[in-house]
């Protein structure tokens, strides 16, 4: 019998949480937020996330730099480009 593909909603029970999936990223995010919240507030977080029914591969990350503003040569620059203002950290 052919196995069900992991990126399909099975509807009949939990699937394995594997690296590189949205579900894995979500679980990691939750654990990180939980730890940070407990440290900041001193409150214990008791919520247990339910086990996912699907396994969805993470989308490819599109580089942010590919949509950078492209400056035309005659656009000039802001007066502070070469020397960021004091206090500009």
């Amino acid at each position: 019998m052919a196995r069900k593909k992991k990126d399909e909603s099975t509807g009949d029970g939990p699937v394995e949480i594997v690296e590189g999936t949205v579900e894995h990223a979500a679980r990691e995010h939750f654990e990180r937020e939980k730890a940070a919240y407990e440290e900041r507030t001193g409150e214990k977080v008791n919520f247990v996330p339910p086990h996912p029914l699907t396994s969805t591969p993470l989308a490819e990350v599109v580089s942010d730099e590919s949509v950078e503003f492209i400056e035309s040569e005659d656009a000039g620059g802001s007066e502070d480009e070469s020397t960021p203002p004091e206090g500009d950290q």
């Binding site: 979500a26 940070a36 900041r40 969805t56 599109v62 942010d64 203002p85």
Partner: protein, 345 residues
């Protein structure tokens, strides 16, 4: 005295214990704001004027210190406004070294499943003898607005618990630092459509104005028996709250675009889902390559409505963006700030 002389500071740190504001003056930042104001704590009261047999009150009973409120409006940039935005979303911050002296700070909305207590901090207000340190402050809302190629503006509401120290008692509160020039014309607004194509509204030049608002609906009225009683000026007493949980948060996003064709309207009625709507405000160079950046990201969304609008006689459309729950962070929006400081608290 001039109201313009009112000075205000926000702590660079968050409270370790609620209602215990940072006590070192140098750990505060002067808040840039174009609208002068000053602050006086308000004590709520009730009276007996509405009792049968009375035509007017005979006395008042003081009850709770009203939650102090700050409304701040100015240019969006990567120092104080970025701090307020990060605290409004409330999630933890991931700091990344991009290059020597260049840092990225990424954060999401505090998940309701994790908790409802947003980061709290201290605020100081000073105008002559009106000198107050407010404890237990939280960012109740944060709004970013862009219009034409003007500098992007932010509008934030901060509320406190009512706990106050007067005079503020802090020394060496710093002066206003020069803020980075976040030129409006550098702003980039992009998203990925249902066909996985990146739409760059800045390149298209059709974006007239936009707005992103995050409201926390903080419960400032969570009053309980046993709340701390605070006395000011020897006899003026009232209680203040000991916690202010976030309510159900709301995110509102819209964009006004030049009317070009029916594509956006068609995608709206087809309920198409898009991803990674990014409002990126770009500032001055940090080093030879990298610039200051302040970015709001909507991981998943749809055009809920596309309605006819107008811009000085030109036909336009108002696109109401409905942000979906992000599958990873669980929230509607995330934030990213790039600046020259190692952390963003």
């Amino acid at each position: 005295m001039l109201i313009e002389n009112g000075q205000h500071w926000i702590s660079k740190t968050v409270e370790g214990t609620y209602n215990t504001a940072e006590s070192t003056g140098s750990n505060y930042s002067f808040i840039p704001t174009e609208k002068g104001f000053f602050s006086l704590p308000q004590l709520e009261s009730r009276n007996d004027g509405n009792r049968a047999g009375r035509n007017a009150p005979s006395h008042v009973c003081k009850t709770y210190w009203a939650p102090p409120q700050y409304q701040l409006t100015d240019d969006a940039e990567t120092d104080v406004p970025a701090r307020i935005f990060r605290r409004a979303l409330g999630g933890s911050v991931t700091d990344t070294l991009v290059a020597t002296g260049v840092y990225d700070h990424e954060f999401a909305i505090l998940s309701p499943q994790v908790g409802s207590i947003l980061p709290s901090f201290g605020m100081v207000s000073l105008l002559d003898v009106a000198s107050f340190l407010y404890h237990g402050c939280m960012a109740d809302s944060f709004k970013l607005m862009g219009k034409g190629s003007d500098r992007i503006q932010y509008d934030a509401n901060i509320v406190g618990s009512g706990k106050v120290t007067t005079p503020h008692g802090l020394s060496s509160l710093p002066a206003l630092a020069a803020t980075p020039c976040m030129d409006g014309f550098r702003t980039a607004v992009t998203y990925v459509d249902d066909a996985s194509a990146t739409i760059n509204l800045s390149t298209l030049g059709t974006l007239i104005e936009w707005m992103v608002e995050h409201k926390n609906n903080i419960r400032t009225n969570k009053r309980r028996i046993g709340d701390t009683i605070q006395t000011i000026a020897t006899t003026g007493s009232g209680a203040h709250v000991r916690s202010m949980p976030r309510g159900k948060y709301e995110t509102t996003i819209n964009m006004k675009l030049d009317f070009v064709d029916l594509t956006n309207w068609q995608k709206s009625i087809q309920a198409k889902t898009f991803t990674n709507l990014k409002f990126k405000i770009v500032g001055p160079l940090i080093d030879a390559t990298y610039r200051h950046e302040f970015e709001v990201i909507v991981p998943s969304f749809t055009f809920e409505t596309v309605a006819p609008d107008e811009d000085e006689g030109d036909a336009a459309i108002m696109v109401n963006v409905l942000a979906f729950q992000d599958a990873v962070s669980g929230g509607t929006i995330t934030g990213r700030v790039r600046n020259a400081t190692a952390t963003l608290v």
